[in-house]
Symmetry: C2
Subunit: 296 residues, 2 copies
């Protein structure tokens, strides 16, 4: 089976060809411009390869409700050219193959669930901390959608007592993304985040917010594993700070074997930054089978 994978991001589109075992044969990437410019490049790439199905992990918010009239649309994104854009429809009319569709972070958590550190577990969350903060959720063997899809990057925070920065989220004065995304670090300190590596206070505050977010995810989803990715998490000194702070904030309220072994509970993405594109392959595989089933 030849499967296509598309990681549709706000700055770049990553495309790959692979198979149902998670083998990637080739991968390319192009910048994200307007749909009329970018979509034809994507479709001509995949057309040449004669794929059997395509999986798309997409920036959001997106409509995942198959009963909705706008299923497969990117909805109210601030990237205006893509707002209310029928991405699944456009790809489908050009490619005529089954198309699996989900959020970028759900694709990542799915990649980790099938081939990475959530393998053999029935639940897990993936948190990306980069330009934005997004959370993908895998529960009881499937991806969580619900009314819309998780937007847990925007859960509310208690401020670090020394932090007076106003945040970068235009919607919320105290949300996780507003206070802990890459751009929030860079705006707070007027410096590129990677240049702040030796400034301990930066990572203490950053870990404080990420840990609060994780605690709230433990108290809600109660996942079997928490996987962290995204540009900010390249700062490896964050991991022990986050783990300590999570235990401090939980304060013994929740007792589980997983929390007793926190180094293996809160972990870095394991798939060499391929969790997203691998998850897209799996979305393609799932859609291929569900399309063939429903034709019986």
């Amino acid at each position: 089976m030849l499967l296509g994978a598309l990681e549709a991001g706000g700055t770049k589109m990553v495309m790959a060809i692979g198979d149902e075992k998670g083998k990637i044969f080739e991968q390319v990437s192009i910048p994200t411009n307007t749909p009329s410019e970018t979509i034809p490049k994507i479709t001509s790439y995949f057309k040449e390869k004669h794929i059997d199905a395509l999986g798309v992990g997409c920036f959001g918010p997106i409509d995942l409700d198959r009963k909705s009239k706008t299923y497969g649309y990117i909805t109210s994104t601030p990237k205006l050219a893509w707002s209310d854009y029928n991405i699944v429809g456009s790809l489908k009319s050009a490619l005529s193959v089954p198309i699996g569709f989900d959020t970028d972070v759900n694709a990542s958590v799915l990649g980790e669930a099938i081939w990475g550190s959530i393998k053999d577990l029935s639940s897990g969350v993936y948190i990306t901390i980069g330009t934005g903060i997004g959370v993908g959720v895998y529960l009881n063997g499937s991806l969580l959608h619900g009314m819309l899809h998780p937007e847990a990057g925007h859960i509310f925070m208690n401020r670090h007592p020394e932090d007076t920065f106003k945040g970068v989220c235009p919607y919320h004065p105290n949300c996780l993304e507003g206070l802990a995304s890459g751009p929030s670090i860079e705006k707070r300190y007027h410096t590129k985040a990677y240049k702040l590596q030796s400034n301990e206070k930066v990572w203490e505050i950053e870990a404080y917010y990420i840990a609060q977010g994780i605690v709230n995810l433990i108290l809600t989803f109660s996942p079997h594993k928490i996987v962290l990715g995204g540009g900010v998490m390249k700062q490896k000194q964050l991991y022990p700070l986050i783990r300590d702070q999570v235990l401090k904030l939980l304060n013994g309220y929740i007792k589980t074997p997983q929390l007793n072994d926190i180094d293996n509970y809160i972990v870095s993405a394991t798939l060499d930054d391929k969790q997203g594109i691998l998850g897209c392959l799996e979305l393609a595989r799932l859609e291929y089978y569900s399309a063939n089933c429903s034709s019986f």
Copy 2:
């Protein structure tokens, strides 16, 4: 089919006999004392009725992992006589019928999902605001457990600017339960909560915290319905205050048809305070079938 239902609470045990259609034939309640005093009363009640299966919705934390050595135990509860108590084991050895077991709030959300306001929806959460704050979660047609089970009553809050009360949770200075449970209201104002009905500031602050909790649940679970119950929610003036505050805090970030019709999205429990015991009947029914399946 004759089913037994047990709502095991910290102050009382509610027992009922009913059927798989949600018809309750009789219901009684006894105070919760020690296990050695209370459990024999429960087992002798159900023994006489010759039930086919029992469903138990239990106060927590409890062990729901069927692979665990302490499956069916109440674990680290502050009610010390019940701490590390094998409630399912005790009931099973006396009754010899299949026993379904879940949290009290998961039983409530299940009751609402089968017979109440979550009927016909694929997801919903039930929040009880009483002596404690608990959250039951129904997703993709089943109850959420995960590593432990949701403990979303303890998610962290931003303080209301006028609230200097230190909270009642022994674990967390700023959690929802600590700042918004019935006892927190009563300790903050040194008065029974129902006597504060005409004090608008009380309910403004209360709604502020409940709304923050709900916003975080929307951002994580993205449920199709939010059902509120428990003693504090008898203050009906809270509903419009909560709904307004939820929309204010979300600040337009999430757009869904459900949020556009918020009076039907955030609702009061509909089953006349029977959602819990009805959910226990359904737990019994599910366990009866799964026990009979596994004997093939």
